[in-house]
Amino acid sequence: MLKRLRYHIAVFFSVIGPGFITAMVDNDAGGIYTYSQAGARFGYLPLWTLIPITLLLIVTQEMCSRMGAVTGKGLSDLIREEFGLRVTFLVMTALVVTNLTNIMANFAGIASSLELFHVSRYISVPLAAAAVWLLIVKGTYHGVEKVFLIACTLYVCYIISGVLVEPNWKEAAIYSVRPVLLLEPAYITILIGMVGTSVAPWMQFYLQAAVVEKGVTEKEYRESRIEVIVGCVAMTVIAFFIIIACAGAIWTRNPRDIAGAADAALGLRPFGRYAFLLFAAGLFNASLFAACVQPLSTAFTVCEGLGFESGVNRRFREASIFYWLFTLLIALGAGVILLPDFPLVRMILLSQVVNGALLPFVLIFMILLVNKRKLMGEWTNSRFYNAVAWTAVVVLIGLTLALVAISIRDLRAG
């Protein structure tokens, strides 16, 4: 019995990585901004959405990791094989556009977090871009994964800074389970935003590819599923602490809109240097981490889907399209942050529109694929699970389309 338990724990540690990293990168600069905004403006009220968000996340992520483990193929590979090249091409184009804006947002996060430490963006952004490029191109797969896992643990910054702010724990606990719906446009927008940023198309592609790359098979799938669930829960815990930090620090004194995640960090200042420093450091870590993962995952997914050679273990000459795409995403993502008048906010809104337009397709493809007996054998969804998955997908699509509508309205207004 003990021996079996030990075996399962050993297998669990051997599959750790994909689920955790994906869930953590989900809390990137854009995510942190959304959660900070929720806390700063509405305090503890939006906390209840975190539990449904976790469930939605688990349902979608679980299907991807299962497909990766059973078929040994990435999501873009499967879409290509089952739905043809033209569909794949359209999906990949949309993915590059959304991911590029995500990458921009993350370089913006790097810039603004380091400006809190009085480092000019003209120094921080080029250095960060170079560091990201070198890490991925020169590092080995296992080395890079270790760096990523260390980055995952640094999210603990948010937990500490949330504690340092001394929020009202009782209220936080109550509102985590008590749904409150205010019929106020700003509140509804925030709720939709929280759900919308939590499930993004790139995650599905990244997770499945990472599970394949890790060599997880049907045999280790049980442990891999646990890893995915633990990752999703950890992501929500971090989100929880970001919200209560902002609720405790900003909302209790003066509920307001914040201008960005860095602005939220400034709001924590009255609660001591460490709360502020940790929040800012967490933002820097999250942004840098996402700026590593997103370009890599985009280049990888696109090349896999379109059949170009990919992977950092290939030489430049062999996989030139992969390296060019990867380099270009970083160069553009970092470059625009240095332009004086670049309309970053508009870009992020635009990205949410494309994101929202793409997500329904990706989710529907996923469910169709995961139910193909030819691919999945005995591992297709059960009827009950399908009901859950379709519900989750419909809810997500509905909320995402709402977010698209809001973003389009803001784009027009702004």
Binding site: T71, G72, K73, D77, R80, E81, G84, L85, R86, F89, G215, T217, E218, K219, L306, G307, F308, E309, I321
Partner: protein, 413 residues
């Protein structure tokens, strides 16, 4: 661009005309029947009205970008047939192995050559297209006229693989026979490259490859595959086939692979093996993986310490198959204890009557079977070794560690 080429993207959707030049439908797919001809398109599948029709290659008069003109309009309804490789359905967007480039590629398009056979046009598969150019063709297919696409694609460099170097991966063994897919081409790839290819594939396709290729090649390739993939491949194969492959591996590598498996599975495989390799592998399995015993192999040349150089040469000539990379001979005394180490070069330069003992190196290095592997790599570095004898508690020679084993250990760190 030569006029006698046609792409599958162009063929699909091409109108088909009967003898009176009336359009009867459009091409939906084209099929090879590899058992009849591995290159020539045997049938065209045409959709018109409510059902698909089959056109045999000898019913066609001419094929061009304007359409296919028939010379015989006695067409039969389409029915699915296991001997048929349907290009759009079975090949397009699927992974195949490029034997000349030694990699896995995904098919974006197929290039045909239009040629004359008995006065009418037939299509022969020339190349499989994988690059940016074929992706472009696929994306704009149908949206722009065929001739415009040909002009627009010109600046993009082509990237294609000749059809004779394409190996299709088919998981179903019956269909493999019907489509005449053999492992012969894969067996010509260097086993280390084949291992890289296999690592990139899905579990199902890996199994397909190991089922088709010869056990000897499979053994060499399997030794080069990453340990956890090795295990999953062996587990997926029939026990008999797995045992055949493991038998062909060198005992130390076989033991390493079996150690990765569940005990149940490895026992089943061992049971299927021949007696001699089985005992050798079983003995090696006793040792912990990260010790000298786990690293060593049992294929080496050993001679009695009293023997002379001439005896050694005779012994080597007489042996069936000397170990690969042989560079050292080992001397043992009557009790099987290690008595000396003779570099091969010294043997070659000596006269036949010289006792081997005189050729042995002074102060040979040796380790015991339970020495830690870190210590082993250290010794290889310190004494610049190519081989290192491993002895048991009584000083008996138990096995030999070679430099390639050490390189593998160092690389895995």
């Amino acid at each position: 661009m030569a006029e006698n080429l046609l792409y599958l993207t162009e063929l699909v959707g091409l109108p088909v005309f009967d003898l009176k030049r009336r359009r009867i439908g459009r091409v939906k797919d084209a099929a090879l029947v590899p058992l009849i001809d591995p290159v020539r398109v045997d049938r065209y599948l045409v959709g018109g009205g409510w059902a698909w029709l089959t056109i045999r290659h000898d019913q066609v008069q001419s094929i061009s970008l304007d359409g296919i003109y028939l010379r015989d309009e006695q067409l039969t309804p389409y029915h699915s047939d296991e001997y048929m490789l349907r290009l759009a359905r079975d090949l397009l967007d699927q992974q195949i192995i490029d034997v000349s480039g030694r990699k896995v590629v995904r098919v974006s398009d197929v290039t045909f050559e239009v040629r004359q056979e008995d006065g009418h046009d037939v299509l022969g598969v020339l190349e499989v297209d994988i690059g940016l150019r074929s992706v472009f063709r696929r994306v704009v297919q149908g949206a722009l006229p065929r001739r415009a696409v040909r002009r627009l694609q010109r600046p993009i460099p082509p990237n294609s693989i000749r059809w004779e170097f394409c190996n299709i991966i088919e998981p179903d063994p019956q269909r493999r026979l019907r489509l005449n897919i053999s492992g012969a081409m894969l067996e010509r790839i260097h086993p280390a490259d084949l291992a890289d290819i296999v690592e990139e594939l899905s579990p199902e396709d890996r199994e397909a490859i190991f089922e088709t290729i010869d056990s000897e090649v499979a053994a060499e390739a399997l030794s080069e595959v990453e340990p956890d993939i090795q295990a999953s491949i062996l587990e997926s194969l029939e026990t008999e086939k797995a045992a055949e492959i493991v038998e062909e591996m060198s005992p130390d590598e076989a033991a390493d692979v079996l150690a990765e498996l569940k005990e149940e599975t490895s026992e089943e495989i061992l049971d299927e093996m021949d007696a001699e390799p089985k005992t050798e592998v079983r003995e090696l399995l006793e040792f912990e993986e990260d010790t000298a015993g786990g690293l060593m192999n049992t294929e080496y040349v050993v001679l009695h310490e009293q023997a002379a150089a001439g005896d050694a040469i005779e012994a080597l000539k007489g042996s069936e198959e000397p170990p690969e990379g042989l560079n050292t001979l080992f001397l043992i005394d009557a009790g099987g204890r290690l008595a000396g180490v003779v570099p091969l070069a010294r043997l070659l330069l000596s006269s036949g009557a010289t006792p081997l003992k005189e050729l042995a190196v002074e102060a040979p290095v040796q380790v015991s079977v339970d020495e830690k592997q870190d210590r082993v790599t250290e010794l290889f570095d310190k004494y610049n070794l190519l081989t290192l004898p491993v002895v048991d508690d009584e000083g008996k020679l138990a096995g030999v560690i070679t430099a390639d084993d050490v390189i593998t250990v160092l690389r895995r760190k």
